[in-house]
């Protein structure tokens, strides 16, 4: 049987508690614990922590009902739903998927913009500073400026639905859906590459383009 000193045993405490040591090491470590009050106290503290952790409740109700806020966002159709095929697990392919998604949204938004110009979108909409909607340069997650700006614009667009033709409405919604799917794909790629600057920039670009599209759509002249 091996003989462990205190440093060795203390470095094994986690594995000992997790029962991750092989039989020989476990036997040696336990032998040391029987003879060493200091290490035994550490082991007992680790065991108590494990027991306390396991007894923690897994569920904690929020102090207020969060459903109204969720319903507000999904019922007013500020959130575009769509089929999203998860990219395959092979990393190089994910990169291609994310890059392809970004390319698609660029093309899509460009087409929508061109179509809008042909339909007589006012120049003020095209030249208005989209950056005025940005609180931050990059996407900052829930509750940040980009998402808030998007929600406000989406709400404004919904208010104008009756003024737009079904064809125009369909083009705008389809393009929003393309961008939403692109965002979802980029976020999936980011799960594997969270610190990748290129993906972060792609995500921020996607949100900007979505806001850009919404801003222009909300300024379309009434058709109906």
């Amino acid at each position: 049987m091996k003989t462990f000193d205190c440093d060795q045993v203390l470095s094994m405490i986690d594995d000992l508690v997790d029962e991750a040591l092989d039989e020989h090491d476990r036997t040696s470590a336990r032998s040391h614990l029987e003879a060493c009050p200091s290490c035994r106290a550490e082991f007992q503290a680790a065991t108590r922590l494990q027991a306390a952790t396991r007894s923690l409740p897994r569920s904690t109700e929020p102090e207020r009902d969060l459903w109204p806020g969720i319903a507000h966002r999904i019922e007013d159709r500020r959130v575009v739903r769509g089929e999203f095929e998860r990219p395959p697990a092979v990393r190089p392919r994910r990169w291609w998927m994310a890059a392809a998604a970004a390319a698609i949204l660029v093309v899509s938004v460009s087409l929508a913009y061109r179509a809008g110009l042909e339909r007589g979108w006012p120049q003020t909409a095209a030249t208005a500073p989209v950056e005025s909607f940005y609180v931050r340069a990059a996407y900052g997650g829930p509750g940040t400026g980009l998402e808030s700006a998007r929600d406000q614009l989406r709400s404004s667009l919904d208010d104008r639905r009756d003024e737009l033709s079904p064809e125009t409405w369909s083009v705008v919604m389809e393009n929003l859906l393309v961008i939403d799917n692109a965002i979802a794909r980029i976020e999936t790629a980011m799960a594997d590459n969270p610190n990748d600057g290129r993906l972060n920039r792609q995500l921020a670009t996607a949100y900007r383009q979505q806001i850009n599209l919404l801003q222009r759509a909300t300024r379309l002249p009434a058709e109906v």
């Binding site: 503290a45 922590l49 109700e61 459903w67 969720i70 859906l177 939403d180």
Partner: protein, 195 residues
């Protein structure tokens, strides 16, 4: 709005992580995929405690936890059409929530971090915390006071039962880093609870 919806969901498999409510929720999931907001609200009522509990424990801030909980359900509504039923809805929702919280944490590095470092805010008010006397409350407070990286790994590994390989994948860190963070978290917690 042109949103062709159709369920490509496979029948829910009953497994170790499948709860009775998951079997009951299968019909709700199909209805929610088809756009039934009432069904989605029922799914929300079933799972909000679990989702909020996870958010609260991972971020240590009550206000932010509510915000992330809402974001997780909005994201779930968006992505439900891609839910294939390979796992129970609760498992799918759980993973989605972890991704939402970690995604927020990644982006938080680029802006003002709202998460508490001292772990005081979580327990500064009443509510659920008052129902947790003694060691549990001390432990919750101590968890909330952990550094972010250590807290993430501790919650996912010791509370939620993730393996280090899974944590490494979802959190974008090496397996060795996950193990080191867990060891650090446990040491800090033992020290906090002993004092």
């Amino acid at each position: 709005m042109v949103i062709p919806l159709g369920s490509n969901r496979r029948p829910a498999m009953a497994g170790p992580m499948t709860h009775h409510s998951d079997v009951d929720s299968a019909g709700l999931v199909d209805r929610a995929i088809a756009g039934d907001v009432d069904a989605f609200e029922a799914l929300y009522r079933q799972s909000v405690g679990r989702v909020h509990g996870l958010c609260l424990r991972m971020c240590g801030d009550r206000s932010l936890a509510e915000e992330l909980t809402q974001e997780a359900f909005v994201r779930a509504w968006q992505k439900l059409p891609s839910f294939r039923g390979d796992s129970a809805f609760s498992t799918w929702m759980h993973r989605l929530t972890v991704n939402v919280v970690l995604g927020h944490r990644r982006s938080a590095g680029r802006r003002q971090n709202r998460e508490t470092a001292a772990g005081e805010e979580w327990y500064s008010e009443g509510g659920a915390t008052q129902e947790r006397p003694g060691v549990s409350m001390d432990l919750e407070r101590a968890i909330a006071g952990l550094p972010k990286g250590a807290r993430t790994v501790f919650v996912l590994h010791d509370v939620e039962g993730y393996k280090h390989t899974e944590i490494a994948r979802v959190a974008g860190m090496a397996v060795g880093t996950s193990k080191a963070q867990l060891s650090r978290a446990r040491q800090l917690l033992r020290k906090a609870l002993a004092s």
